[in-house]
Amino acid sequence: MTKEYGTIVNTVVLPYRWALGQTWTRFFDGLKEEKIYGTRCGTCGKVFVPAKTFCPDCYSDLDDWMDVSQEGTLKSWTLVRKSHFGQVRQPPYALGLIRLDGTDCEFIHFLGGVDWSDMQNAREKLKAGARVKAAWSKEKHADIHDISCFEPLKS
């Protein structure tokens, strides 16, 4: 028989104020105006969304800002059903890996515009390679949630 010993409950709560820097401030300012900005590397020509300060391959500054298309292709996705402490949204919700047209990298965001109670239909709509488009939140806070989610393009 295992003997039970006491435990101590210890919750760590810490406050933060993260500096966004020029690049992310400008990127989020764009979202507030329903614009998605990317930055382009003058050396290799790659375009990055969210906007980056420097090219990860070339290590050079990225000064070339572009207004990027709000439509793109879904590379992959998953439906989250499990809860954990501190989740931003309550399950079920879906995450997608999206590459916007004219860019050279993917990023993660929420997927919406789909009825999750009908998984067969959902899978049809969100096959890898499906076309998606940004849907905007009514209320803007100049953060990533200004984009509410990406929805399948009506074909």
Binding site: V12, L14, P15, Y16, R17, W18, A19, T53, F54, P56
Partner: protein
């Protein structure tokens, strides 16, 4: 000691409140400067070591993942080492082992912190266990003050004398920081201000303690062959030492601090130093608190035990003294914790390669750098010299 290892480039950010840049961009500022100083590109780097305070400090865990691009890590082997305040020395040592072992010729070592983004004391308190130490935490000031009190009591140092010497150190270092383009706190103060500043944890006062700072420091380590090939003026690592003590505060005698004493001794043995006060030209000591700095002087053999205040008041550790200590202003004026220990090595390197600008100590050829970590738990020392 393995193969000879040189420091061939250093880089530092402008330290202070850097809410003008995101954390990864801050890191890149230091790395870019170090790459330029060494005359190499990101592609030349063969391995990367980084370190910071516990990630709770900035709220993003495992920052060596977050900084992959800024640290030129993509496609390279990567190590992260953390030992709280002594992180800067730990990562330097790790980089040293990597090159000395023959497994790499060129290693990038970077320490960083963005303390304005979190709550420094609250985060540091998470290092303490929640059952016995955390309840009585008065932050870092509490620990260092208790140590200072123990030291004054043990060696019968009159409080007034210690107070005077602490203020003297504060004035000296704040003065030196005015000549350091990277330093955070740049203020001109006098003895009266230092002695009468507000109390934080008695007897330690506001001007006896370090600031919280944002900053990063990068250092490039090279093998002898690579250093000669690249052709920049190297600072050779002549000795290193690192020691740890028990976790529970109260188990070791912090007034004689075995880990600090032994770490220095080990480094001296490797470097062939018998009389540190005479043989060292500069010492960049980890000095967040003026009282504690005096304990380090004694542990490192710069003066007999209990005599540091006398030596300080005689000016022996000034910029014009026998052994200038912290001509950069030290941690007292600049403290981005994860970087601070490495900044000491960078400053020691600048001294022995003649690149320290207005804070240069003339003719410096052998310098000690040091950092302390945890609840007075770890001490690391690296000695660099102009000659191999």
């Amino acid at each position: 000691m393995g193969r000879a290892v040189a420091v061939i480039g250093t880089g530092q950010t402008r330290h202070g409140r850097r809410n003008d840049v995101s954390y990864p961009d801050l890191v890149r500022e230091a790395v870019r400067m170090a790459l330029e100083d060494a005359g190499i590109t990101p592609k030349d780097i063969e391995g990367v070591v980084s370190g910071t305070m516990p990630s709770m400090m900035e709220g993003i865990s495992d920052t060596h993942l977050y900084f992959a691009e800024a640290l030129c890590e993509v496609g390279k082997p990567v190590l992260k080492v953390e030992s709280c305040g002594s992180t800067g020395q730990s990562i330097a040592h790790c980089g040293f082992y990597w090159v000395a072992s023959g497994m790499a010729d060129l290693v990038l070592v970077v320490g960083m912190e963005k303390m304005f983004e979190g709550d420094g004391q609250a985060t540091m308190s998470t290092v303490a266990d929640p059952w016995f130490l955390k309840p009585f935490s008065a932050g870092a000031p509490g620990v260092f003050t208790m140590q200072a009190m123990e030291w004054m009591h043990r060696f019968n140092i009159p409080e007034d004398k210690a107070h005077e010497a602490a203020a003297f150190i504060s004035v000296t270092h704040h003065d030196s920081a005015l000549d350091n383009p990277y330093a955070h706190i740049k203020i001109k103060i006098g003895m009266d201000e230092a002695k009468n500043a507000p109390i934080i944890t008695y007897p330690v006062r506001l001007l006896d303690v370090c600031p919280t700072s944002d900053g990063a420091c990068a250092v490039i380590l090279a093998s002898e062959e690579m250093a000669k090939k690249i052709g920049r003026k190297p600072a050779w690592i002549r000795g290193l030492g690192f020691r740890g003590e028990e976790f529970f505060y109260g188990e070791s005698n912090k007034s004689i601090w075995p880990s600090a004493t032994e770490a220095a001794k080990h480094a001296y043995e490797q470097a062939g130093i018998r009389d540190p006060l005479k043989e060292l030209d500069v010492a960049e000591i980890y000095n967040p608190f003026t009282y504690q700095e005096m304990i380090f002087y004694e542990c490192f053999g710069f003066c007999p035990r209990g005599k540091a205040p006398d030596y300080v008041l005689e000016g022996k550790f000034n910029r014009t003294g026998e052994l200038p200590c912290d001509p950069s202003g030290g941690v007292l004026c600049t403290n981005p914790i994860g970087a601070s220990g490495l900044i000491r090595l960078a400053e020691a390197t600048l001294q022995v390669t003649g690149k320290a600008g207005a804070r240069q100590i003339e003719g410096a050829e052998l310098a000690l750098s040091h950092a302390m970590g945890g609840i007075d738990q770890f001490n690391g020392v690296t000695i660099v010299g102009a000659k191999l």
